[in-house]
């Protein structure tokens, strides 16, 4: 099978989904081509002809014409679009009258479900996969063949590394949403060897968290570095976006209520890294071995208790790893292919 995988555009964790699926289809024996929508958009939006520049919409149009050209050149059986926010209507319309199967992999449920459902309604894809099942009925109203596909991890990258000592007490990597900043600024990290990573734009110089950053918080933190940091840490944590400031970090309060585990939880579990987690439906069923927290004070107490109980910590981390073992990109790519009509 010939599979064309289309990059979502943004460079953060959703880009890992692109790489993960592209590699996975290759491992399954498919002939795979990627379409670097991100690089092309960047190139066109940075063009400057003596002060004349391209608007973003024009850049999207040009890149999309290139994508259609790629389709004609490669003639894929299946086009896998990651998120599809930067695919214009004329591309969807053309694909509807061409024989390619179209699969859209949505990665921002439930926070962006309104926007994602609008894309799916416009695109009429062969298959839609969503990373949280909360609004599955709403998707199926416009695209009957919509399924919940859990987040995935790369089994080549996300695994324990016996050659790396867990010399850090605690690490956290993720975007510095206001809810996370407020939460961690209230945690007592005294005598804890902590490390923070991720894009934390606007973090004030006086923030007590700044001392813990292993890079410039105004820049991205690479996925490979994130994995290494997980492998070096005794304990990490998962905080869902919008769990506290829903009005700021999701389209609406309704959109903030999620059920599925997030990608960081999977990656942490897969690397054998113990972590504290916020309660949420799926994790509460599958990751019962990992403690939950709701308040900063409680978080600090849990952090200290588990730091001093190495055997219990390692046992829980091992069981968490087993619980998510099959959630790899390869397994999910196989499932995607099986779901095609």
């Amino acid at each position: 099978m010939r599979v064309l995988v289309v990059h979502p555009g943004p460079a953060y964790s959703v880009a890992d989904v692109y790489t993960g699926y592209a590699n996975a289809f290759g491992e399954l024996g498919c002939t795979v081509r990627g379409f670097n929508l991100d690089d092309r958009l960047l190139a066109y939006t940075n063009l400057d002809f003596d002060g004349v520049t391209l608007g973003f919409e024009d850049a999207v149009t040009i890149v999309s014409k290139e994508l259609l050209g790629k389709c004609y050149e490669f003639w894929p059986d299946l086009i896998v679009i990651i998120s599809g926010f930067f695919i214009p209507g004329f591309s969807w319309d053309l694909w509807k009258v061409r024989p390619h199967a179209i699969a859209i992999v949505m990665t921002e449920s439930p926070y962006e479900d309104d926007k994602q459902i609008a894309v799916v309604e416009r695109a009429e894809p062969t298959l839609t996969l969503v990373n949280d099942p909360i609004n599955l009925d709403r998707y199926r109203d416009v695209a009957p063949r919509t399924y919940y596909m859990p987040q995935s991890y790369d089994h080549h990258l996300h695994k324990p590394d016996p050659n790396i000592d867990r010399d850090k007490d605690f690490c956290f990597v993720g975007t510095g949403f206001p809810s996370r900043r407020d939460f961690f600024e209230q945690v007592d990290f005294a005598a804890i060897d902590a490390a923070f990573g991720g894009l934390w734009k606007g973090l004030s110089d006086s923030s007590p968290l700044r001392q813990f950053f292993v890079h410039d918080p105004e820049d991205w933190y690479e996925n490979a570095d994130t994995t290494k940091l997980y492998q070096r840490s005794k304990i990490s944590a998962n905080l869902y976006r919008a769990s506290r400031h829903a009005e700021l970090e999701a389209n609406s309060l309704d959109m903030a209520r999620g059920w599925a585990m997030g990608p960081r939880e999977l990656e942490l579990a897969a690397t054998g890294t113990f972590f504290l987690r916020e309660p949420r439906g799926e994790g509460d069923m599958l990751l019962t071995m990992l403690p939950t927290f709701t308040e900063p004070g409680e978080f600090g107490d849990l952090l200290r208790w588990w730091l001093h109980h190495e055997k219990e910590r390692e046992d829980a981390a091992s069981r968490a790893r087993a619980a998510v073992a099959d959630r790899t990109f390869v397994n999910h790519a196989r499932r995607l292919l099986a779901l095609l009509p």
Binding site: D137, Y147, Y148, L286, R335, A338
Partner: protein
């Protein structure tokens, strides 16, 4: 890991074919599908109990002949069929007039279950629990043997688990609307 049980009648062959198609499309097929036509009109309880006697997997699942499974039904449920659960049910969309399509999209509530049957028959049941309770029976307090089973399971200390993902379609009145 799981055996599917279906009791049906000869005149419901078309419905059964549709259910079979949905089963054949599973991305994770069940270990076995046991189907019996109730030629002698022995009744659903009798047929299901007899079929269940042949189950050799840790879990069983009743598929009514008018139900349709989404293609990922069993693959979605598999991670939740763990040692700490005895009855695992997912959500369905009700198709048919007069009933809200979300009627069976309810979180587990043991108190409510004693007064309201919000779990359809199409749930995964640990085979050992089925055997312990003697399967279905013709209850004298309700016309729904599946509800009676859930309540007896509650009394026996069974652990219920709700997976709030819509993985199948409950076709209300499909039999009446079927064009022969």
């Amino acid at each position: 890991m799981i055996t599917v049980l279906t009791a049906t009648l000869p005149e419901r062959g078309r419905l059964l074919a549709e259910a079979a198609t949905s089963l054949a499309r599973q991305t994770l097929p069940p270990a076995e599908w046991l189907v019996r036509f109730d030629h002698e009109k022995a009744g659903l309880v009798s047929v299901l109990n007899d079929l269940a006697n042949h189950v050799q997997t840790p879990w069983l699942f009743q598929l009514d002949d008018d139900d349709l499974l989404e293609a990922d039904h069993f693959e979605t449920l598999k991670p939740f069929l763990t040692d700490d659960a005895d009855i695992v049910y997912s959500w369905c969309t009700v198709e048919g007039q007069g009933v809200a399509r979300t009627k069976f999209q309810c979180d587990f509530d043991p108190d409510r279950l004693r007064v309201d049957n919000f779990i359809p028959a199409s749930a995964c049941i640990r085979t050992a629990l089925w055997q312990e309770l003697g399967g279905h029976r013709e209850p004298d307090w309700t016309t729904h043997p599946d509800w009676d089973f859930w309540v007896r399971a509650l009394d026996a200390g069974a652990r219920f688990r709700c997976v709030p993902i819509v993985t199948w379609r409950y076709r209300l009145g499909a039999w009446q609307h079927m064009s022969l």
